[in-house]
C-alpha cells in the first residue's frame, strides 16, 4: 500500500528540489558516510489543504528536535545520542553497530502556497509528522453559480 501511496515513480518537484539543496551530500557521499537521504528518512506527501512531512527519526527526545520553517524551507535538525551500553562492563563487545548516532539535519523545500503560521509537528512511535497547511486563498473552492 505504501508502494502506491509513496510510490517511487511519483518522485516529483519536491524530490528534485530537495536533492538540489542536499547537493553537497552527492559530491561527498563516502566521507559523510551517508547513503541517499541519510537520517532521518523522509516521506513527503501533499493533500489539497496541506503538505505532510514524515521524518523517520526513532529514539529521540521530542523536546530536542528543532523544526524550523524559514522562507519556504523546512528544516528538521537534532541529535541522536548513542545508547550507552548497559553497565560499563569491561567485557562489553559491540558486534553490530548500524544505527545512526550524532547530529542530523534535513531540509525540504515547501511549495509557494503554504501558510508559514499554520505548522504543526507531532512525534509518535519514532516518526515526526510535520503538517504545513496551505493558505486558505490557495485551496480549491467551489464557486456558486448565480
Amino acid at each position: 500500500m505504501y508502494r502506491s501511496l509513496f510510490s517511487r515513480d511519483l518522485f516529483s518537484e519536491l524530490d528534485r528540489l530537495q536533492r538540489e539543496m542536499g547537493g553537497l551530500f552527492d559530491y561527498s557521499p563516502a566521507i559523510r558516510g551517508l547513503g541517499r537521504g541519510g537520517y532521518p528518512a523522509l516521506n513527503v506527501g501533499s493533500t489539497p489543504t496541506a503538505v505532510e512531512v514524515y521524518a523517520f527519526a526513532p529514539g529521540i527526545d521530542p523536546a530536542t528536535i528543532e523544526v524550523n520553517l524559514d522562507r519556504g524551507v523546512l528544516t528538521i535538525a537534532g541529535e541522536r545520542k548513542r545508547a550507552a551500553p548497559a553497565g560499563s562492563d569491561e567485557k562489553t563487545t559491540v558486534h553490530l553497530d548500524e544505527r545512526f548516532a550524532g547530529r542530523f539535519r534535513r531540509v525540504v523545500s515547501m511549495p509557494d502556497d503554504i501558510d508559514p503560521a499554520a505548522v504543526n509537528a507531532e512525534y509518535r512511535d519514532g516518526v515526526l509528522r510535520v503538517t504545513v497547511k496551505r493558505r486558505e486563498a490557495a485551496q480549491p473552492r467551489r464557486i456558486e453559480v448565480q
Binding site: 530537495q18 528518512a41 501533499s46 548497559a86 567485557k91
Partner: protein
C-alpha cells in the same frame, strides 16, 4: 483531518512473505547477555512481533502512519510498510528469558546467557 490508518483488506499480500525493510541494529554483548537495539520507526506496540523459534530470533513490525485524507506522495524514502529481520541465537543464550521493550520506535531486546554460561572466575594457584 482524519487519522486514517489504512489496513488493506483488498490487498491479500500480507499473507505471503511480503518485501520488508531491514531495520538497522546495534548488538552489544556483555558478560551476562546480549542487548539488541533495532530502529523500527512508525511501528506501534500492537503491530510488533517478536518470536523465538528454536534458535531463530525474528523481529517483525508493521508501520502505521496517521495519514490525511487524499494524501498523495511527492517523495518517499520509506516505501515499504514492514520491517523484518532474523537472527540466529547461539546455544549459551537463554531463549526462554528474552525480554523486550519498544519506545519511540526503538526496540530493545535483552537475551541473557544461560546460567551455566555465565563467566566464573577460576582461581589460579601457584604450585
Amino acid at each position: 483531518m482524519n487519522n486514517v490508518t489504512r489496513t488493506t483488506p483488498e490487498n491479500p499480500t500480507l499473507a505471503r512473505q511480503e518485501a520488508a525493510l531491514l531495520p538497522p541494529v546495534d548488538v552489544i554483548e556483555d558478560s551476562t547477555g546480549i542487548t539488541l537495539y533495532a530502529d523500527m520507526p512508525g511501528v506501534p506496540k500492537d503491530k510488533l512481533q517478536l518470536r523465538v523459534d528454536n534458535d531463530q530470533l525474528m523481529l517483525e513490525g508493521e508501520i502505521v502512519l496517521p495519514l490525511s485524507q487524499g494524501l498523495e506522495s511527492a517523495h518517499a524514502e520509506v516505501s515499504l510498510s514492514r520491517y523484518r529481520r532474523a537472527f540466529t541465537l547461539s546455544k549459551e543464550l537463554d531463549a526462554d528469558k528474552v525480554s523486550a521493550e519498544l519506545s519511540q520506535g526503538v526496540l530493545r531486546v535483552r537475551i541473557p546467557k544461560a546460567a551455566h554460561a555465565q563467566p566464573r572466575r577460576v582461581e589460579v594457584r601457584v604450585a
